[in-house]
Structures are given as structure tokens and as C-alpha cells.
């Protein structure tokens, strides 16, 4: 296939946290809100005058200083974020909003606060920590509304004078939905037998919508969508199609590595992926927007921390449903090393997807930066691809 016109542009945006669009947003006078968990309702971070930047640490190398503060037993993303913060890589942030989601990321941000890594010359800078829901009950929606009010909206209004009215939230939801619709429309091409977008390309586009100010991406995404409508796919179908599930994938190199082994990543269900992160939010006029946004996030949340059994089983059913919708031949459950929530979710998920839903599953742990240990992953994926091909042949399909 011909290269996408803007692929290099999007790839460049992922090379550092403080990228060109973040600088442009700062120049536009936006309040840059750094955040670390996809359970924080994004539209509330993208009100008029603000933009959300999800913290990431591309090209992570040495983690020495962060390892001193947090030991080598914490997950690499948490250490990578702290290391990058200490290096000054997140100096653009005007505030940090962190839910007490997974313990390790929470500790990383607490270390950032104690070490005063951000906001040195900004008297209005603040850190805000919030409780997030554990279940999908009305009580959890109430909790979420209260937490978002007290730990997102109030501090934004008090420190930066941001309009947090219902009308402002509705506008932010509309803007958010525009991005979601674009990403979903682009992602739809992955369903084709001969897909006209690779999993890698899609991941780059999707990840950019988290780590860049969204309003600055719309034109390029629209152009890319138009380009895809007429893009000629490869003649040959992919050898196998896989659904990638698990911890956050900040390194598109992982998706590239999987695809280099002959497996097309037809769908993504990981933290900060398109499912469920880029599902549009439907609002009605009867209820206030904040409550509806919170309910949307709770009902759609696929985080392993959600602990009631409806959610525990629902997550596996959701993966199976996506696998069927995107015609996946198999599922790859990945977990970034030392991530407790995904360690258990991967174990139970891979067992249930195999036994209850009949999908072949590859269950792997991985480093944050795949370049640091690509050989093992390559071997595992190769073996998985071959095993699925054999199954296809045995079923009489094309290898």
C-alpha cells in the first residue's frame, strides 16, 4: 500500500510528550491538563480553554533515577513517567489530574508531586487526585459525579477560571465525539478482508488523539479518512487477524512487531486504545451532561479494576464480541511487566477466551519499550501465527 500522506506527521507527534502540537496549544493560551488514566472523563479535561494531554514517555531508555525512587519492582510505565518528569519532559503541564486507579501510576504521580517536577513557575499549578468507581452501579455514578466536580471542575474553575457549566460540558462532548467518530470511521477499515489500513497505522493515529490537543488534529484526521476511502489495499489477505488486548501500548513498535510476523492487528482493546476510549458519548437533554458523561465512562469502562462480576465477565464477553465483529482469528492478551491488574486479567481473560469463547489466545508480558526486548516477543508471536495458520488449514481455510 502507498504510505498514508500524514503518517510521518502523526509518528513525529509521538516522539516526545512535549510535542509540536502541545507547544502550539500552549501558544494558543490553553491550559494543558496532564492525566494518566483513561478512566478520567476526557471531555471534562477539554473544556473551552483547556486541553488534555495524556502523559507518556516515548523512547524510554534508562530508568535509573525512577528506579531509585520506586524500586525495580514497579511497572515500567510508572517508572518511565517519573523518569521523564524528573528530566523535565512534562514541564508543559498546568495541572495533573490523577485517579487512584492502579497503585503504581498513582505512586509515580505522587513522586512527581513530592519532587516538584512540574509547575515551578506557575502559581496556579495544581495536583488533583480522585477516587474512581469500582463498579457500574448508581452509587458509583454518584461517586464519579462528586469526584469529577470536586477534583476536576472546581479546581479548574478556581485556578484557571474555566467555564464548567452544563453548556460547556456539552460542547466539550460534541468536540470529543467528533474525534471519536473519525477514529471509529478510520478503524472500520480494519474489518475488511483486505484491510486498507494496518494495525500499526491505526495505532499511531489513535494514540495521537490521546497525547496531543485534539482540536489541532481534526483536519489531518479528516484528510486521512478521505484518503483511506480510496486507498488500494494489498492484494493478499493477512495471514491471520488478531485482537490485541491488555495494558497500555504507548510504543507502536509493539503493534509493528506483531504485524511483521504476519498477524494483522484488526482491533485494539487496551488502555488508551479505541475500545472503549473512542466510543462516542450520547447525551440527552433531560439530564445534566456531567452525570451522563460519568455514567458513560462507568458503563463503558473495561478497566480490570472494575470488580463486580457483571463487569468481570462482561470484559471477556466484550473482547469476544469485538473479536467476532472484526473477524479475529485469535486474541493476544498482553500485560506490561509488573502490572498487577492486567496480570490477573490476562490470566483469567486468556483462559475464558479459550475455553468459554473458543478463540486461540497468546498470553504474554512485555516491556514498556518493546525495542528493549523484541526477540522474545517476536518468537512468541511467530509461534502463535503459525499455530493459527495450521488451525485454519485444518479447518479447510486459506493459510
Amino acid at each position: 500500500m502507498r504510505d498514508l500522506k500524514h503518517l510521518l506527521y502523526f509518528e513525529n507527534l509521538l516522539q516526545e510528550a512535549n510535542n509540536a502540537l502541545v507547544a502550539q496549544a500552549k501558544a494558543d493560551g490553553k491550559v494543558c491538563i496532564a492525566y494518566t488514566c483513561e478512566n478520567v472523563p476526557e471531555p471534562l479535561l477539554n473544556l473551552d480553554g483547556t486541553c488534555s494531554i495524556r502523559l507518556s514517555a516515548p523512547h524510554t531508555g534508562s530508568l535509573d533515577i525512577a528506579t531509585y525512587y520506586m524500586t525495580n519492582l514497579l511497572c515500567e510505565p510508572s517508572r518511565a513517567l517519573l523518569e521523564r518528569a524528573i528530566e523535565g519532559g512534562f514541564s508543559f503541564a498546568d495541572c495533573v489530574i490523577t485517579p487512584d486507579g492502579c497503585t503504581m501510576i498513582n505512586r509515580a504521580v505522587e513522586n512527581m508531586e513530592l519532587l516538584e517536577t512540574m509547575g515551578k513557575n506557575n502559581p496556579r499549578f495544581f495536583h488533583s487526585y480522585m477516587e474512581i468507581a469500582f463498579k457500574n452501579t448508581p452509587n458509583d455514578v454518584d461517586l464519579s459525579v462528586l469526584q469529577c466536580t470536586n477534583h476536576i471542575l472546581k479546581p479548574l474553575q478556581e485556578n484557571y477560571g474555566i467555564d464548567v457549566s452544563d453548556a460547556a460540558i456539552r460542547k466539550a462532548v460534541a468536540d470529543h465525539n467528533r474525534i471519536c467518530e473519525l477514529i471509529r470511521a478510520i478503524g472500520e477499515f480494519r474489518k475488511e478482508q483486505k484491510p486498507r489500513i494496518t494495525g500499526y497505522e491505526f495505532h499511531v493515529l489513535c494514540l495521537a488523539t490521546y497525547v496531543c490537543p485534539k482540536y489541532l488534529l481534526i483536519d489531518k484526521l479528516e484528510e486521512t479518512l478521505e484518503e483511506l476511502k480510496t486507498r488500494e489495499p494489498e492484494d493478499k489477505e493477512p495471514r491471520v487477524r488478531v485482537l490485541l488486548v491488555g495494558s497500555e501500548v504507548d510504543d507502536s513498535g509493539l503493534v509493528k512487531l506483531i504485524e511483521e510476523q504476519g498477524a494483522f492487528v484488526c482491533c485494539d482493546r487496551f488502555c488508551f486504545g479505541s475500545y472503549p476510549g473512542r466510543v462516542p458519548i450520547v447525551l440527552n437533554d433531560e439530564e445534566d451532561a456531567l452525570t451522563q458523561v460519568c455514567r458513560h465512562y462507568i458503563q463503558n469502562c473495561q478497566c480490570p479494576r472494575m470488580m463486580n462480576q457483571e463487569k468481570v465477565y462482561g470484559r471477556k464477553a466484550y473482547v469476544a464480541e469485538l473479536a467476532r465483529e472484526y473477524n479475529a482469528d485469535g486474541v493476544i492478551y498482553e500485560q506490561v511487566k509488573f502490572c498487577d491488574p492486567w496480570a490477573y486479567e490476562r490470566t483469567l481473560g486468556s483462559a475464558m477466551l479459550q475455553h468459554d469463547y473458543g478463540f486461540p489466545v497468546l498470553s504474554v508480558d512485555r516491556p514498556y519499550n518493546i525495542a528493549s526486548s523484541s526477540g522474545q516477543m517476536r518468537t512468541r508471536v511467530q509461534a502463535f501465527v503459525e499455530s493459527m495458520e495450521i488451525k485454519k488449514i485444518q479447518r479447510g481455510g486459506n493459510a
Binding site: 487512584d100 497503585t103 513522586n111 479494576r305 496480570a343 486479567e345 490470566t347
Partner: protein, 532 residues
Amino acid sequence: MKTVEKVVNPVKRAGEQSPGKIYNENLKVRARREWRGVKDTFYDYTRWLYLIFVLARFIVVPRNIKGFFRYRWMMSYLFVPHGMDKFTIGLRDEALRIAHTSFNFVIADVTQAIANCFRGDRRVGNDKAYSGKCVITDENSMVTFMMGFDTDKVHTILREVPTMFASNIFHQFNVMHYLDIAQQYGIPGDVCPMPEAEAGISIEDDFCVLGCCAVQNNTTCDGSLMGNGIIAKRLEREYGIPTYQLATPLRHKEPDVLEYAAQEIKNAIEFVEKHTGEKWNWDTYFTAARRVNDATRCRIAQMEINSTPYPQFFGAAFSLYNDTNYMGNSGRNADFVTIDHKLLALAQKGYENKRMYAKEYRHRAIVWGVQPQYVIDMLYWMVQCWGVMPLTDMLSVINTDMIAEVDTPENREQAYRDMAMLNMEMIMRNHTHGGFKVLVDDLWELCEQMNADIVMMWEHMSCKALTGMHGQFEEQARARGIHIMWVSHDLCDPRVFTRQAIRDQVNSYMRTVMREEPLDPSLEIIPDNEAY
């Protein structure tokens, strides 16, 4: 660096002076018991007889024999007397009586818990009527939501306590089997081994199966929360036992989570009422609340004694007793009140008589972090071998607020908030979760309050909430002039750090940093790595 005044014991210890001699590397138990002088040896002997009686009374019941041969973890309970000996190393006088009074009671409580499990277990006793009134809860679960159910009508079964938690104290290797199974099924080896072992027990189908319903909790950590999913799957799907997940907010110091937590308690109570068919009784609740307050007052008094130069009740016996009383009991059992007061009277007597646990106290330590299950005698060892007095441990630094104990319409609403508060501030999680202040700042405050010059920091390598603040502890301790002695372990997997490897971390610190010689050199190296 901060220093404290050395306290020398004017009284020579009765009996033998070097208890290290009773270990033998060729045996998996001690070569003999300690000679403590006539009076204390006789007392220790009578307590041993009592334990043998408790165990014999348990095993003569046929269904308990059946259970014994069905469940691997039961083997640990053969070593209860061996386990008890770990709590009494070098102890004399009131200290010995405190250790026995508290831990013998805990053992009797655990034995009763096992008997209850076997009675209702579908594979063993299969008493359906009894099982129909049992509610299963986690090992790390406050049972506040059961405080208002009459104990003769609804039975609370902390199924994981005898299966995993207590069994590991008596037999250091017994959990390894379940860890191996969990890892064989794909759970990585870097998660906390406690919930991992519990998941392994469930995978192996080695939990007792009983109860009309179960209540799980997210009280400790991400690993514990996630392990519940695996356990609940088997409970619900294979055994048809409905499971409720009681969500407990993590940022427990924030007032805006309290109503949510209180509502969760209400929902859990409603769930239990629905499945047991029994009603919440406010008289029962407020009676339990009064006992909770009484236990709190006793614990505060014990901590005050420990702030003086003559601490009395500390170490594993203190923390495990508090664990059982605060968390597993929550005021439901009246017997704890008697024991609380007996322990306080013993401690007060010990304090008045200026009783000491060792030849001298050179340092006063706060023990922070989570203690390893398989070196449960570590703190007694530390004071005997090095004269480092552990004033208190993190698990014992729990709620000091009184809860509403008079039955009024307002207090009935307040009661839900009180239960929620106790639940949120459960042992361990009240410091490991809720922001860095409760973990780091609280420690320095405690050092000040109790006049400590050392922090003995248990670094449970899989406890991410704690290790995530490693550097902050280091830097802040240095700034405050407080020694910080890191002691790494893996909670209940002795393959990662052996017992001696754990003690050696203290030995090295005391020799190289503090430049001191041991008080009792016979204890510096103990050949008990292979012992149960």
C-alpha cells in the same frame, strides 16, 4: 542522627541466656524447648498442654479428621506448638504471659474457624442448615457489615484465614504449592504472593465449599482485588454461591468518599439479609460497637505503654491479635473484651515492674511495612539479638476514633458511616492507600510520638504501594536524622528470601552502619531455613 537513651535491664534473665542453642540444622523443628527458669518453664509447659488440648479436642471430631486428610493446608496445623514457640523466644514473666494469652486465643479462634468451615463444607461435614446461614468473606476483610447480625443466626466465615494466612505462619513451605499452581496457570510471579496463593488454592479447588453467599472486598491492594475475580468465578459458576463485591474507596482521608462507602455497606447488608433470610439487629450492632470502642481504648493504652522506656505488648503477637480482633471480630465476640482487659492488666503490671524483654534496649524502632508470614518471630529476635525494641508495627497503627455506640435514630445513620470508615481504614490499607501522607508523613509523626531512632522497614518486594515510596522514605529519613533499616522479603514465599537472608539484612546494618555487636551472638545466625 537521632539517638535514644540506652535502657539496661538490671535483672538477669532466669534460665538459659543463649536461646540460639536450641536450634539444630539437622532438624526441621527446634532441638528442645527453652529453659526459662522453673516458674516460667512450668507456665510455658501448661500453655503447651492447653494447646495440645485445643488441637486434640478439634481432631477427635470425625468430620475434622476427614477434612484433615482432604486439605493440604491442614498439615500446617500439626505444627501449631512449633509456631507458638516462635512467639516466645527469650520471653519471661509478663511478656511470656502476654504472648501466650494473646496468641493462644488467636489459635483457639482459628481452630474454631476451621471447625466451622468443615461443618458446613459440602465435601466434609455438609451440614446444609448450618451452611445456609454462613456468609463467606475474604481473609483481608473487615467484617463490620456483619456487626448487626446475631452470631447465633448468621455465621461469618473468613475462609481464607485458616486456609492461607494462618497456615503459613505455622508452616513456612505450605503456601509454595499453591503459588506454583497459580503461576502454572499464568499469574506472574511478581504479584503479591498472598492473593496469588489464594487464587492458587481456588484453582486447586482446595477451599472449603460452604455458605449461602460470599462478600468480597478490595481492601488491600490491586492484587487482592484482582485475585477475587478468579475466586468468585469458581464460587458462583461452579458452586452457585452468589458473591457480592463490597467496594471500598482508596482515598479514605477524603471526606467526599464517605457517603459512597456507607452506601456500599448498606448494599452489602441488604445482600446478606437477602441470602441468609435474617434481619439486621440494631441492638446487636450497638453492642458490637461498644466492644469495638473498648478494644480501641485498650489498644491506645497499650500503645501508650509502648511509648515509655518499658514497652510490653508488641511484635507479631500484638499485630496478629489486633488483626483478629479489629478485622476478623469487629466487636462480634464478647470473649475478646475479657482478653483485651487481661492483656492490658498484664502490660500495666509489666510496665510497673519495669520488665524488659532483653538485656538492654539500645534502639527504639518503628516497624513499617508488611511483615513476612514465614519469619513471624523476627521482631522478638531483633530485640533479643540486637537490643532493637520494636515499639509498634504498621499493621497495629489503626483507628483511634470512637464510633457511635448508643442506639438513636441519628446514630443508626451514623453507624453506616462508622462501618464504612472502619472498612476503609482497615489494617495495612489505612497506610498503604490513601495518598503518600498516610504512608510517609504518618511514619515520621509516629517516630516523634514514640521517640524512635530507627525505622525497621519491611520491604515486601511485591507490595507496590509501599515500594513506590522507597526513595521518599530514604530521603526524608536522612533529612530527619532517623536510621532506616531496609529488610526485604516476599511475604510468604521463602524461596525468594530465606529466613536467615532476612535476618542477615539486620545483622549487616547493625554491624556496618551502627557498628555494634549483638547482645546475644547465639542468635545472629539461626539454622532454621529448612525448619517448618
